[in-house]
């Protein structure tokens, strides 16, 4: 069964423990010019920042409220990045995380084009660059532990468990409390994601894309890409046939020339 994380954005106090946990567990550098916390203009996901906490000031109930939104890879159930990757460097695991194998990657960056959430980043500053994104701490998940960011939160923002269970929990929470937006972000977006969000302010005001359909992006490309093996094999057969045909014709022509009357 696939694991997931439910994020209740109303509980976030903006301490940034999750961003530090991510850096610790994944041995990532802190870069002064790439802060992991702050307004959306400065706190951005990057090859070094697999997760960030963005600050938003939002007009609500005749006043302003502060909200914090943790961003990271959403680990789609049917990931566009993995479907675009012909090298199988990106793979969706049984447990839920979408993981990346550097030794398979050819650096084509199709995944970056494919991802509707703009998650995979490229190590532009490295000599031998790789693609880089949150792994949902899949090695921890395999051991029955929660992702690093989830395990350190002091404010009870996260619930970790089976995605289907979490979805039920999320729906009952928002059903019981009318101050929540009556939608679970990630339930259907791009065919559904392992990370689910609930919030009391509209998701688009927290920098979440809400114009993504509910159909997995790979479905669109699959409609024509499914013919790729057929076309490849057919071309092979046709071209091989043509080669032998012309070769035979040439041989016959040569023999005809060499006939001594």
């Amino acid at each position: 069964m696939a694991k997931g994380v439910l994020v209740d954005l109303t509980k976030c106090i903006g301490c940034g423990s999750c961003t530090v946990a991510c850096k610790l567990w994944n041995d990532m550098k802190f870069q002064d010019n790439e802060p992991t916390m702050g307004p959306v203009e400065i706190a951005k996901l990057s090859a070094n920042n697999w997760t960030v906490v963005q600050y938003y000031e939002i007009a609500k109930d005749d006043g302003k409220v502060w909200r914090f939104a943790k961003k990271q890879c959403l680990h789609c159930q049917d990931p566009a990045c993995a479907s675009a990757c012909f090298a199988k460097a990106l793979q969706k695991t049984e447990a839920g995380p979408v993981i990346y194998y550097p030794h398979l990657c050819v650096g084509c960056r199709y995944c970056m084009i494919a991802c509707p959430f703009n998650i995979p980043k490229y190590e532009w500053d490295k000599t031998f660059p790789l693609v880089s994104k949150c792994q949902m701490c899949s090695t921890k998940v395999e051991k029955g532990e929660a992702p690093a960011c989830v395990s350190v939160c002091p404010a009870g923002v996260f619930q970790y468990g089976e995605r289907e269970e979490l979805l039920k929990n999320a729906k009952s929470i928002i059903a019981q409390n009318s101050s929540y937006v009556q939608e679970v972000y990630g339930e259907k977006q791009a065919g559904g994601t392992s990370w689910l969000y609930i919030s009391d302010v509209p998701f688009e005001q927290l920098g979440f894309r809400t114009d993504i359909g509910t159909i997995p992006l790979s479905t669109y490309s699959h409609n024509f890409l499914k013919y790729t093996p057929v076309v490849a094999v057919s071309w092979g057969i046709i071209l091989t046939g043509l080669y032998h045909y012309t070769k035979r014709r040439n041989t016959i022509a040569k023999e005809d020339k060499n006939v001594k009357l």
Binding site: C15, L24, G63, Y101, G144, P154
Partner: protein, 521 residues
């Protein structure tokens, strides 16, 4: 066909080097790209307590939120190990974090007390640095740089130089400040005595009914406590003494009275304070703390320009290569440099109360208090909540309470609230609140002599202050401070005069709307 294998191949030197270089390059390339087939991530480290099954989450985890614009404290993420000790300080000792409902409103609640800087094992959380500012001012020949030192720094600064906890280094501290180049070194003890005159007079006026403000009166010299009250008990702000803290009184006087006496343009004065406290950094930039500037029509001038914690002062002394332990004692400068024993005990929990009682006794009876009142044992010591009842002729029993550490403040405040709700007469006349456990001697800007802060270090500092009061200072009563008497004669006329109200008293802000308070008690 000839047999070629018999002929050895000749290899030129260039060819040999080419082969070797090529192999080297190939090796380097192979090393860089690596042959690992692992997936990305997970190559780092997490504290042991987090490496458990997801169904058994650890109890102590995460960290406190710190606003990037926080004027008092800052955090270096590179050093944070998510040990959760800052939360222990904030939630259990100070009852700030976790005492508001989620979602938050429009503020990252912090009372700036800096206890988290004392608990953080890696030094990730520190005070916001003002030393650069001060060094710059000291280097500017056009500025007259004035400094004041709080009561509690003189019994802790030595610890930064390896001296035993509680070593009295008053004279050495003055010498170090003069060596750093400050133009005038004043003592916050002087304004502590002044605070007693103002706050004591206000208390007497409340008791006699002359001032239409409710009892009990709360002390107002701990800015962390003041902000805590503004956040969680704004309904009780009427009880807060309007007297400013000694730091802000000194700031206002330096740029008015002192500037006038010395004939210096207040705009050319840079006012620094040495404090055991990080909340003072927040207090000095509260928008209303510009009384001296406002008086001359320049509201942009703040009364206090920079606040240096005891730790920062130690750093400055170390940076300049001054051997602190070898300095000979020097004296504070006159005009704003005299202090009494009553003032020096401001630095410990119960001290403000004791000092106020000594002078309130005098203000009411016109006689000095009996010896028993000069050693008010019930309000001394590190207990979180202390109570006493005193007989003052003409008034009857005056009931006082003292608490330090904001978790203890809640107990007393809830009592005050309950009394008000039930319509009972107030349980106390006067309550002293100190944000930090043990008072200023255990302040958030003090040396990290034990980690987390320990009562034995607090006790050593506290004992030293009482020793100074009993044995080292000639005068033990605020109303006998000659320089204080002079400032009333030459400038303020009398406590709570119109000018004193303008420079020495302040107003408070209801911050209740920035959070939804939650009482877990």
């Amino acid at each position: 066909m000839e047999n070629r294998s018999a002929k050895p191949q000749s290899l030129s030197r260039r060819g040999f080097l080419k082969v070797l270089g090529g192999a080297g390059l190939a090796g380097v390339a192979a090393t860089i790209t690596g042959c690992s087939t692992d997936q990305a991530g997970g190559k780092g480290w997490m504290p042991q307590q987090y490496q458990v099954a997801s169904s058994w989450p650890v109890q102590v985890r995460g960290r406190v939120p710190i606003d990037p614009a926080n004027p008092s404290i800052t955090r270096d993420d590179k050093k944070c190990i998510l040990c959760g000790q800052c939360i222990e300080a904030c939630e259990r000792v100070q009852t700030v974090m976790g005492y508001y409902e989620l979602p938050i409103k429009d503020d990252i609640v912090c009372v700036n007390c800096g206890q988290c800087t004392l608990w953080c094992p890696t030094g990730a959380i520190t005070e916001v640095d003002h030393t650069e500012r001060v060094f710059k001012a000291l280097a500017d020949p056009n500025l007259h740089v004035v400094v004041q030192t709080a009561p509690a720094t003189r019994v802790a600064l030595g610890e930064e130089f390896g001296m035993p906890a509680g070593s009295v280094v008053e004279g050495k501290q003055v010498a170090a400040l003069k060596a750093l180049g400050f133009d005038a070194v004043f003592d916050t003890n002087f304004t502590a005595d002044l605070t007693i005159m103002e706050e004591g007079s206000e208390l007497v006026a409340r008791v006699t009914g002359e001032l239409k403000k409710p009892l009990p009166q709360f002390t107002s010299c701990s800015p962390g406590w003041v902000k805590f009250c503004e956040y969680y008990y704004p309904d009780l702000l009427e009880h807060m003494s309007s007297a400013k803290s000694p730091q802000q009184m000194m700031g206002a006087i330096v740029k008015s009275y002192y500037a006038k006496q010395k004939g210096i343009d207040p705009q050319k004065i840079f006012s620094v304070s040495i404090m055991p406290c990080t909340a003072k950094k927040y207090e000095c930039q509260r928008p209303e703390m510009n009384s001296a500037g406002k008086m001359i029509g320049k509201p942009e001038i703040m009364d206090v320009d920079a606040v240096i914690t005891t730790r920062e002062l130690a750093n400055m002394i170390k940076q300049k290569g001054i051997d602190f332990t070898q300095l000979s004692d020097e004296q504070y400068d006159s005009m704003l440099g005299e202090g009494t024993g009553a003032a020096v005990i401001f630095g410990t929990t119960g001290g403000v109360m004791e000092a106020a009682v000594r002078s309130a006794y005098f203000l009411i009876t016109k006689q000095n208090p009996p010896d028993a009142l000069l050693s008010l044992t019930p309000v001394r010591g590190l207990n979180g909540v202390k109570e006493a009842s005193l007989e003052i002729p003409g008034v009857g029993p005056v009931k006082v309470a003292v608490c330090s550490g904001l978790s203890n403040a809640r107990k007393i405040l809830d009592q005050v609230r309950a009394d008000l709700k039930a319509g009972n007469p107030p349980s106390y006349h006067f309550i002293e609140f100190m944000s930090c456990p043990g008072g200023c001697i255990g302040g958030g800007g003090q040396p990290r002599t034990s980690l987390p802060p320990s009562d034995s270090v607090r006790q050593a500092r506290l004992d030293s202050l009482y020793t100074m009061d009993a044995k080292m200072y000639k005068k033990r009563l605020s109303h006998e401070n000659q320089e204080v008497l002079d400032i009333y004669k030459n400038f303020f006329e009398h406590p709570m005069s119109h000018l004193a109200e303008e420079l020495l008293h302040t107003v408070y802000t209801d911050r209740g709307k920035h959070l939804t308070a939650k009482n877990k008690a």
